[in-house]
Subunit: 115 residues, 2 copies
DNA sequence: GTAGGATATGTTCGGTTGAACATATCGCAA
DNA sequence: TTGCGATATGTTCAACCGAACATATCCTAC
């Protein structure tokens, strides 16, 4: 049983997709590599980054064009902070709600094999 | 800032939409009335109910056709239980994660007016 | 035995969303 | 100064999803 959690403030939304994207950008140093790993087009990955950068007061991702390796991207302090806070909320929800989540799972019909 | 939470087990999913639908069915005693109130077609409401009833070992909604008032629907014990557990998980997540949620909100750009 | 209201399903149509394709630009290194 | 790799954007097309429309069925009350 997995838990997906999304925060919304007006039209601004932040959920598991953007969180994973931020994480992969942090690890790979590249928007395109992050998107590739997640099976999405570069364009989509870039649009999500753009959304986040405009939604927050400070950009969450800092990107540079050109250079030896063509460019790259990295998480800003704000980006790291948002990611950490989000991860923490999810972890808390999973821990604190474990009993209720298990109770629901017990009522489920079996069979759903994998994935 | 609102929080949306969805539980997934394989292809089976349960989130805010189905939870609200169950709640309204419990209160109105009708699938069509519940769907109407939520601004969805009867067909969609019925399909969601069908999904839930097949996903769980016991049906969450019990419906009857015909009769004086045409028929109706009511929550089963299993339905009430699932709804209560889900509500509890959400409430716990909101309470326990309040600090982190607020921290993210503080980093947001303002302006997003309403809705 | 017929009218009414809600469940139960099928079908069609339009909008939204993402995938795919296509360029343009940038800056360092060779 | 040319090539490379990644960012930055626009455009087009197919798939998916829900809305709307259309019936069929059921059962009680009158």
């Amino acid at each position: 049983m997995t838990l997906r959690l999304r925060l919304s403030y007006g039209s601004v939304r932040f959920g598991p997709g953007k969180a994973e994207l931020l994480e992969r950008i942090r690890d790979s140093g590249s928007i395109s590599a992050a998107g590739r790993d997640m099976g999405m087009s570069y364009k989509r990955a870039w649009m999500l980054v753009e959304e986040m950068n405009t939604a927050f007061r400070l950009p969450l991702v800092d990107s540079t064009r050109g250079g030896a390796k063509g460019g790259g991207a990295r998480l800003t302090d704000a980006g790291a902070a948002v990611l950490a806070h989000y991860r923490r909320v999810v972890a808390l929800a999973e821990q604190q709600g474990a009993a209720d989540i298990a109770a629901i799972e017990d009522l489920l019909a079996d069979i759903p094999d994998e994935k």
